[in-house]
């Protein structure tokens, strides 16, 4: 799960503070960066802002750094590569489950995964994927 998705998740877990609420907590510059991190698919965060966000949500900075290293584009590349090589991917989800299968398609929002031994696709929302591995 990317930092972008994780921030949205943390925001929801903390009662869904509005943008106006966040503006009162962070400086103008930091608020702009915060929103950019949430909105962009690539990583635009800085080392300076992570401790501030971590303090606000009461989570370790390392947690945010971990998600920062797993951008949506990185997941897209992983799935794309697996499709090209016919590899099996293992998607670890926010629900605690790990799904094993062949990606059949992917787009901006979801991955169509054919689980091993099953015919029907399972449509995994990309923001639900915490981490991923490949059989390769």
């Amino acid at each position: 799960m990317s930092l972008s998705d994780h921030l949205r998740y943390l925001r929801a877990l903390h009662g869904g503070p509005s943008n106006a609420d966040l503006r009162q907590v962070f400086s103008e510059e930091d608020t702009g960066l915060y929103f950019a991190i949430e909105q962009r698919y690539r990583d635009v965060s800085t080392d300076d802002i992570l401790p501030k966000i971590a303090a606000y949500y009461g989570v370790p900075v390392e947690e945010l750094q971990w998600h920062r290293a797993r951008s949506r584009k990185a997941l897209a590349l992983h799935v794309y590569t697996a499709m090209q090589n016919h590899d099996i991917v293992a998607l670890r989800l926010r629900t605690g489950e790990t799904l094993l299968g062949h990606p059949v398609w992917w787009d901006l929002a979801a991955i169509g995964l054919q689980l091993i031994g099953e015919e029907d696709l399972i449509i995994v929302q990309r923001h639900a994927v915490i981490d991923w591995e490949s059989s390769a």
């Binding site: 702009g32 897209a76 926010r94 629900t95 929002a109 169509g112 696709l121």
Partner: protein
């Protein structure tokens, strides 16, 4: 956060001429846009593709590029009296020789030659000297001269296969085409979907509607539940009873 067009273009290390050639817009128009003329939505989309950004990353109206600050002279009344006199005319500086054309300009001219279907040699013949001997202002002049000869993109409607949908150039994938198709098929087939939420909760039902951010399921009893995709982990068609 949207940025000024000129700012993005310079960050991408692209000249106005290159942007013009790739986007099919004229250099003058791009200059106007960079100077503050409001962008049309179609042109913004076109420029965004070339610049590999989202269309909404480009401001609809760019602020003109700040000019380099010149030292401001002190106000008249604060100047010493002797400085207020007519200054002596300065000797005219020797005109500086024009700098040689940049490699980027030469490459661009070669690219234009390719676009026009002529050899660089033919281009040099018309210019009257080798490309490598051009000065920067000469190169600018010839780029403009040749650029207007590039035929505009055909206005005839292209024949595209049925079901064709264009993709944004800056994304390797369709926006949400695959998922939308899956949902559409499921809706038309009135298939029962099983949706698993982040918190482990499951919802079953036929798809009454869907959008980029929500799915609406209709249960067997007729009640509907609209689920935010942000809270959905995955979904699938209900396994048919064997």
């Amino acid at each position: 956060m949207a940025e000024d067009l000129w700012n993005i273009r310079e960050r991408k290390q692209m000249s106005v001429a290159q942007l013009a050639l790739r986007s099919g817009l004229s250099q003058d128009l791009i200059d106007d846009y960079e100077a503050g003329k409001p962008l049309t939505l179609a042109h913004r989309l076109k420029l965004a593709k070339i610049l590999y950004v989202n269309d909404y990353d480009i401001k609809l109206q760019s602020a003109p590029r700040p000019k380099r600050e010149k030292p401001t002279p002190p106000p008249e009344q604060s100047r010493p009296a002797k400085l207020a006199k007519e200054p002596a005319p300065r000797p005219m500086p020797e005109p500086k020789p024009a700098p040689p054309a940049r490699q980027g300009q030469i490459d661009f001219l070669k690219g234009l030659a390719q676009h026009l279907g002529i050899l660089p040699q033919q281009m040099e013949d018309e210019i009257g000297k080798p490309l490598s001997e051009l000065t920067a202002p000469e190169a600018t002049h010839w780029i403009r001269t040749f650029q207007v000869r590039v035929p505009p993109q055909s206005t005839a409607p292209e024949t595209k296969p049925e079901g064709y949908r264009s993709k944004r150039a800056h994304l390797p994938e369709g926006i949400d085409l695959f998922e939308a198709n899956y949902l559409l098929e499921a809706q038309q087939a009135q298939a029962v979907l099983v949706v698993k939420m982040f918190n482990g909760e499951e919802f079953n039902g036929t798809l009454a509607g869907f959008g980029p951010y929500t799915l609406t399921l209709q249960s067997g009893g007729g009640s509907e539940a609209t689920l935010s995709k942000l809270a959905i982990a995955y979904y699938r068609r209900e396994r048919s009873a064997a």
